[in-house]
């Protein structure tokens, strides 16, 4: 995803090697994805679903998203 947009940065973090850092994000299971320090989710998933989860981080919280989104 980071290759498709300059606005995206993507980090893969080895949780055991960076235990202190991972603890800040309460990583207890992997893979755990954190987006903009605001949205997080667990597990691997199909691309469309992953995108949907990721974009929750940039959709306004108060529901101005498209109906059904």
């Amino acid at each position: 995803m980071a290759m498709e947009s300059n606005r995206v940065t993507a980090d893969v973090i080895e949780a055991n090697e960076f235990g202190g850092y991972s603890a800040r994000y309460a990583v207890q299971a992997v893979p755990k994805t954190v987006v903009n320090d605001r949205v997080e989710f667990l597990g691997a998933m199909p691309e469309a679903r992953f995108l949907q989860e990721v974009l929750r981080a940039v959709v306004p919280e108060n529901g101005s998203a498209a109906p059904g989104a």
């Binding site: 995803m1 980071a2 290759m3 606005r7 980090d11 080895e14 235990g19 992997v30 903009n36």
Partner: protein, 158 residues
């Protein structure tokens, strides 16, 4: 001893030969091993292992270029790449002539072992080809982003 078994190295060499297009760069940020233990701070581990693995990967293709940087001695460079812990690997496609920024980038913190190694190899190839395997709709949504999107994926070796 090598990390990559001869058969795996041969397989990767072959894959790189057929699938790599443009040159790609692996920037490894590391530091000399620490002698001092500081409680509460993540001690860098796998520094040597990560460097060795990246050296083995870079040796498999003339299109893969490895740069090794000591982040303590090059703080401005480390900061420019957002590196705040090591070992850290930045994969990037060097800027096109005349362009300021690299086109596409991925970062790995820690030794990319197991499945993560496969991800790293696939990322190298995608960067080199200048395209990803993502669906058209995904690419569109990403191109429409108005603000920054910072993804952090926490993993363990599998």
């Amino acid at each position: 001893m090598a990390f990559l078994r001869p058969a795996d190295a041969d397989y990767l060499r072959q894959r790189f030969a057929t699938e790599l297009h443009d040159d790609v760069r692996i920037m490894l940020f590391t530091q000399p091993p620490m002698q001092l233990y500081i409680p509460g701070i993540d001690q860098p581990v796998n520094l040597r292992e990560t460097q060795q693995l990246m050296e083995e990967v870079a040796a498999l293709s003339p299109k893969v270029h490895l740069e090794v940087h000591n982040w303590k001695e090059e703080p401005a460079l480390a900061q420019a790449y957002g590196i705040d812990r090591v070992p850290a690997i930045v994969l990037e496609r060097p800027p096109a002539p005349g362009a300021a920024d690299a086109q596409g980038r991925a970062r790995f913190f820690g030794l990319p072992a197991g499945y993560e190694f496969r991800v790293l190899v696939d990322d190298l190839i995608d960067l080199s080809r200048g395209q990803t395997e993502l669906a058209e709709t995904t690419r569109q949504r990403l191109a429409e982003l108005a603000g920054p999107l910072r993804l952090q994926v926490f993993v363990t070796p599998t």
